[in-house]
Symmetry: C4
Subunit: 203 residues, 4 copies
């Protein structure tokens, strides 16, 4: 009775609510890293730009995960032990983003910090694939749902690949790594770009 | 399939829940800036007044946004990519308010801090207009809904205008800028003031 | 159209959800004041007792407000401007509790800190009465609901009175003030004590 | 009317929502202990390992409580005073975990810190048993529900016993205490291990 209890959509709703809470906190506590400078001089304020840019980038990532989570769970039909724990792992990996964001911002996009940041982006992309696999296999999915899963699986694989590529590129120069991360974000936010059409064509 | 999936009201409910979470955190973390003074002397406590006044003002703002968001989303009929991302942008701009509030309070309503504060109030007022436009155009709206949109669009434009006016006024003296911000807050909180009647008459 | 839009129970649900979020954050951030001491000596840990006791007391208060809020809103039938803003004021007054709790704990229940604490307990008790009045007058209430309102109004008045009494008593010795606050908490938590029966008899 | 008001599932939903909020915050604020080191040297980052391991362990615990809470409340049929307050006590005991986690991590799994940590794990395990008792006795439970309660009560008792055993073992060497805590976590996360089958057989 512990596993696979099949509470149906009501149980799914509570997983969504808990995930919403955790993601809302993750996305919001990152702004606490923007400490108001003591001195009133403008230079002090400008000096916060790396922390601010890191916040914008991470806000975009966590927002993308929420949007994808929202869409994915609309297709979840029942609660299983696997769904509960893969989702918990996803939330755990997302919870590391505020740490690496703060490290990235405070070290002004240095090489080591950029690689650490790309690694913390890699982790949720891998665990998200696990959650997705469980939802996909947990019940009869409509044709539209299957098409959605196919496309977002490909986009997910592409993202993971770009992060992996970003790590050696960050060794050359950190900004190439950041560009990889920013490129993935753009791919997910822009609704029907050329990449989506590419996937639709090949699907 | 990525964009415009049309999940109907259920999907809207989860956007509301996530926004509630983020806004609840934004409104509450601002109070963390009220650090309990180490010394027990009363002057130390009185010295917190600028931080406290800044908190009251920002609490009122974020509360107004929540109330308006609550009303606006009651009219949202379906989830679209545009709604998801415009709402994410709105939450992002709101998440900057704790930073500028803390800066305003710690610098005792100085000129630069007041202008920064007015700028961070401008950003959500612009992004809110975008969310509103998407809700308004996303489905058949009742006559009552259209009247609501018309009126709150006008109030929104007026607010944006008063913030913009507040920036040069803050250069003269910061308190004029703060008065502009406080005036906008009063306009939204007082339920059916003369301004509303003015809008009703001209509608 | 701005005020009194009458969305019915669905709108009430979102106010509940937002209030839940804010109260959940208020109750949880107070534990952040329990800083782990650097030194590993046991005395350091024992030295945290005033912060811990203040946390326990404030946790009980905020929990009582949540329980009462939960019960009160079960009787709310529609959303009005008054309900939205009186609830926002209640949440604002509750949000000051973490500050005065931390002040109380860090100053080891000193006289000034105790009076400040009793004052921050007074504020939500007054604003709660306002929310209650709005719910009570906002629609036809069942006989059971009216009896509930009557009883909790009396208990609320009694609480406010005890807090007011606690302030001069705290001038004599702070622990008398704390005893007043703790007494009110006990009255609310213990389910059907003699005080409740007293109210039932006099109702 | 104060106690046992019997609002049915709607009232239970709001307790779930509030508990979700509190647990989401507890699980997320622990990551704030992972302060980004100032220096960019790798050793500084490696030096964070005890804080990170303590975070992973506590994340697993709080996640287990959420999963169990989610399952238990699916069987709750009505809101009673006892359910409200036993749940509040559970959330209180869980709220102490971030403190003892931070103490454990900062003192590098020292003897005293490990015993304090095991004690804070004991508290929620006891208060969870109280919540469970109230749900179990609060209405007619299906045969499946009764089997679930029986099994999770036994697992709960076993957990409490292992924590109690861990305290003297931690006096020998802290890692034995941590092993006890980790063992309990594994027992709950792994879905149908030999322990579950053992319980099923003896049930």
């Amino acid at each position: 009775m512990t596993a696979e209890e099949g509470e149906g959509r009501a149980g799914v709703g509570r997983i969504e609510a808990f995930s919403d809470g955790v993601i809302a906190i993750i996305i919001t506590i990152m702004v606490l890293e923007l400490h108001a400078p003591i001195s009133e001089r403008m230079e002090q304020l400008w000096g916060l730009w790396p922390v601010f840019v890191a916040y914008v980038l991470s806000y975009a990532y966590v927002a993308i995960y929420w949007v994808n989570h929202h869409r994915l769970f609309a297709h979840a039909t029942r609660v299983s032990n696997g769904l509960l724990w893969s989702n918990m792992l996803l939330l755990f990996t997302l919870s590391l983003i505020p740490f690496s964001t703060s490290y990235l911002g405070e070290h002004h996009f240095a090489r080591g910090a950029t690689i650490l940041y790309l690694l913390t982006l890699l982790l949720p992309s891998v665990s998200y694939a696990w959650v997705q696999r469980i939802v996909r296999c947990s019940g009869r999915q409509s044709e539209a749902a299957r098409a959605y899963h196919r496309q977002s699986l490909r986009k997910g694989l592409l993202s993971t690949g770009v992060y992996l590529l970003g790590i050696p590129l960050a060794l050359v120069t950190p900004w190439l790594g950041i560009a990889c991360a920013a490129g993935v974000a753009m791919m997910w936010i822009l609704p029907t770009g050329p990449i989506d059409r590419l996937f639709d064509a090949s699907a």
